[in-house]
Symmetry: T
Subunit: 146 residues, 12 copies
């Protein structure tokens, strides 16, 4: 089983980006931890980060037939991007939406997620741990189905 | 460390309540699994279910000085109850909001959560597994702080 | 066939409660009339009134396997309670929403009913007669199906 | 006592019109049943169907001094027609609004009724039986007043 | 110069229609007075009343090349009818909107006029006198232009 | 009978103020014409113009016991001023709202009038003639009552 | 195969009606062209224009069993008429909504179409050619299904 | 004269509940002070606190014929509870709404009070003193009437 | 300690202004009573009334360094004036908003107060007594701080 | 004459992307058909697909002086992209908006098109045929002008 | 060339008014700097500050024929005053709107400017420097035109 | 001190892009002028233009540690892009938002700027001069702080 982990704009700056809000772990730290968990769960993870919405769409399109599920933290695009949601539907890959912060406790423009309506599950506010929980949850869900 | 797990109206009917939506596990099944995980994490869990908003408030008030955190699936009250959110603030207990279904993919009146704004984290759509993930996440978060 | 008749907050005061609006019949008068009609229709009625939303939820949960349908005048909770609507869905009991007054001709906050979306039928504005009409209508509907 | 029963656009097609939604009874079936009930209640009924809003207004104007009350299922005009509501006020004839389906459980544009605010009572969701219930209710209400 | 005076639904009932609101003058009274004023102003008036929106549209279409202006009290259609406004634009006849009552002091659904946006002028709240004022104003306006 | 005629901000500039919109007549021209009409109607007119909302309030307060009615073109304050409306209510003087342009055919912020809800009548779009029509209408209305 | 072509209010005035907006072709010109195209496509067209909403409903009802599809330009009724949409559903005739102008580039009240939600397809902005394109498209669609 | 003083959810925690916001006085402190003032004013006070909306309704119902007025701080229920407002209307007891904080300077969801529309008076932002002022004001008001 | 008491437009007419709504006490009566209470509380009061928003702003600016607090009943300006709120912030004088009527039980445009968000406390619906209660409350609050 | 045909995100997946919704034809199939039609109409077509909004903007910029018109199916960007609309305005190339599905019969977030306001014409719901119709319509429109 | 510089309510208090927000420079400091810049640019500046909306209107009216342009910081009136915007239009003087703070980063009620829609340009957030930049920009713009 | 100057979609076409709106200066002209001003102010400017949102994000990320401030005219992305605002926050670079036109006097969808909330200052409507003013203002602001 292969799970894609996609990160959107500005998440490449984690660790130095507003650390009081987003924490001090870098994306590399999170990815290292996810690889460990993936090994424990006996799945493969494939990781990518893009600043562009179109580039994220292209990444998702490439998952067709190669990944059974995905985690996505689309950053600022989460709140508006129908194209990303459409891409997942187009390749029929179930996804979990992850956010480091609890978006429902932030500014009004971050309290709505366009992606959430198409997601299998949503997890937010746990910081870097959230990715790990999402991976465990998604694998458990997909295993239950299979 | 003690973590309260509170469930709101109609969650006592899990297993027979609209199983296509909420799954076939009963609340007892979920609680049994949570006790196992709690043992693994070396924390205590305290479990309760109430159909009344006032009763949930009273349960939360009783956590002061006895619990370090809480999971809450307030069911239908999640979308409107300021009293429950106030109760957590009054006793200063951090909580994670849990939902079995992805509320953001449901009817419009379930897409807003009044509780989410006061929560540490939100997790929804994983079914019964979500409680376990929430417990792991909350314990990790509280341990990191302590 | 057993039909539950549930009344919400302040309906215990009928007869003395704003009689220009709600009429001079007491809840006991209405219940007496409903028992007569039930006898005529050869069904059983089971009657209850509660001031609390949670208590109404609990009453509805108790109908599972015992009642084939319900009439509910949830009073002020009609306009906001998702928990009551969820309870009916959870025990899979079809219900008719009844109001003494024509709620669509009253103050703006009473013109929307959260319960109506889950109801089989809605009847309002007939005063005390509305319960009787609702009982006749519901029994006819259920008989047609059976 | 004479009661008018008015039906609006597309109700002439009942029986073949989206039967899963509106049932298989024709308007003639409903009218036959209403005549029986009217006889039982010792009132006269006068029946009409119109596809045009203006024609319905003209029909209502003709009730002045001839009818003591009316049932109206104005179909699609229910949601927007102030002219029909004004016509009833102009001739001072109390009316009950009837719908075959529970309009509050349908598409958003059908959940608001402009007519309801001027009606004595509203009844919806009982299918063809609703007309009969409305007739009984209205006659009872008018008799109580007289 | 010929001025059309068009009245919409329920205005044929003036005099008996809610007289506390609309006054005791009949449409015939108003028309008689308008003919007198027209004679004084040396213009012709052409009068009509229709209950149907389509019939009003047809009346307006017939003004092309025959009338230099119009007064319209479209009654309930004033608040929603784009078709009537379009008809005036199609035949290029300037019109004054007249209402007996001050629509801005009535129920919310009467406070917006769809017709007003296409009108030369609006006059409301003067009761029957309003038609006369509108006729004088329109003739003065048209004379100033010619 | 004495009728006050009050004009609000920027109406002192009539004649040179955006003449394509407001016409070429000055406020003095309008006042001269109003005095003629007043003489014809055998009433007195009292005229004032103020740029300040508070000054208009003070002017209206001074009408108590001295004027039987008023015309007001409150200019830009028409759309927001509750204080002016309150002043008329406080001294119990009926007023007609006048606008040179058809405010319902202008920018969205000019399509709502706060004053209209308290007015006896509203007249707009006739240009300078509108004042004269309003004076005739108001005097007729007040005479009919007296 | 028979296709109905229905036109709503004021479309009978095409050619002289605001030609800068709607063009100089008359409805007769458009119908002549449609008959040619119909002959080419080997289908029959049946053409009608009505100023009244009720009359359009009646026309649509008459299509049952006689037409396999329809084009409709309901003019001003497009933006509000649920009755027309219901009529098509009642007789189960698929329809294409046509507009001469691009309604989405016009005044706000024309940017929403109530009919569009029930249509097979929508085409607007091509002027008179739009009818021809719509006919070709609808015939192709229906042929593909058959 | 007897005045009821009712407190809603979480007000039992006053003193320890977010003291920066709600102050350090306990509900017992406030009640003691109210008893002193009541003695001074020669009235009786009857005090209660409930976490449940239904329980507050029941408390209010019990005031019929026993209390001439009430103070209520319904806490979080103030913003949504129609049932509490209905209960006061049902027993015809005038009430003053009290809040410790200035709710109009807090989060958006606390700036609207459903209770306020039925209240005699509203007082908020004075902290614990507000209860005393409300008691003095209500007794003065009731005395003036009596 | 000096407390300013400011009154806005039309409050100079108290006693004769809509007495059913605002009572029969004049502003002089209220001021006399306030002076008595001030003497009892050992503070000075400084009283003013203005019809203009700018004049109220100027009055408030003059309080800098001279008053420790203020009561304001800004009348109609309460619902819209940011300038008055800004003036209090600019001179750093805490204020209590007072209204004679319960503004939350009046017309929709009076249910929002722009001033309330900057106030220390709000009191409304007690009639003339409200000023006295506000003075007592404000002095108590300021004394507690000092 | 050269016409550009631009497709946005996820349209490269046509044929396998949710075929129940978007059909089984691939973008290559559509393009082949368009080339045939172009040949018949004696125009050139230039085809492109991009997943990125910026890339679509760049493609449109490149049309200046090279294309006389364009068809665009901007997919998910249709509903939000002002940048694409601006690009067409910047190079002054008229465009037709095309959608495979009837976007007005889909989820609420797809019922508004930001592009439509700047388009010459809009066509949606015809599936793959829609492109062909749009090409024919646009060429006819441009030829009529030239 | 003469440029007017107008300041609205509370700007006379600059320097002591919430200095953390508005800075420590007084209006006199700003005016001194503007005079220097004006000398450099070879234009005259005319400076005024008013607390009243009507007074600002009167000031603007006085610019006719005397000033070629204006800077205005209307303070709190910026967000609501149509009268000030109308005054500029009436005397046909182009103006630049200036704010010390970035109003779009402040409270919601300050994020909309009624004046902006009529302005030539808007500049905000630069503190006292903003006036100087606005003067340079306006003079450059007017010079380019002349 | 280094200041980045970033331009968004379609700004590369300045000079030929809707010149009546955006002027005849090219981006190269503006950049040349900015370099001159930069030299005068003794700062460096770094200039870039991108059509893609992701590319702008990447450009902004690259400013970390290299630029002390930025000017951005994000064109159409200004109204929606949270990602660009987040990027500036992530690298902690203060920015001034610049627009050639006065966006508050344009179409409704351009009157809101998502970027403005995070900006130091906003300047719009001055055409090409606006960049120069923004540069002067930003340098002054940053110098004042340093």
């Amino acid at each position: 089983m292969r799970i894609a982990v996609l990160n959107g704009p500005n998440l490449n700056l984690l660790g130095t980006r507003e650390p009081a809000l987003y924490g001090r772990q870098t994306l590399a730290d999170i990815e290292a931890r996810l690889r460990d968990v993936a090994r424990e769960l006996n799945v493969e993870v494939e990781l990518a980060q893009e600043n562009g919405e179109g580039e994220l769409v292209t990444r998702i399109q490439a998952l067709r037939g190669r990944a059974q599920g995905a985690l996505i933290n689309a950053g600022a695009y989460s709140h508006t991007s129908l194209a990303i949601r459409d891409a997942f539907a187009a390749v029929d890959v179930p996804y979990v939406e992850v956010h480091l912060t609890n978006i429902f406790a932030r500014e009004p423009e971050r309290r709505h997620s366009t992606l959430a309506g198409g997601a299998v599950a949503v997890i937010c506010g746990f910081g870097a741990i959230g990715y790990e929980l999402a991976l465990r949850g998604l694998v458990a869900k997909l295993s239950a189905r299979g």
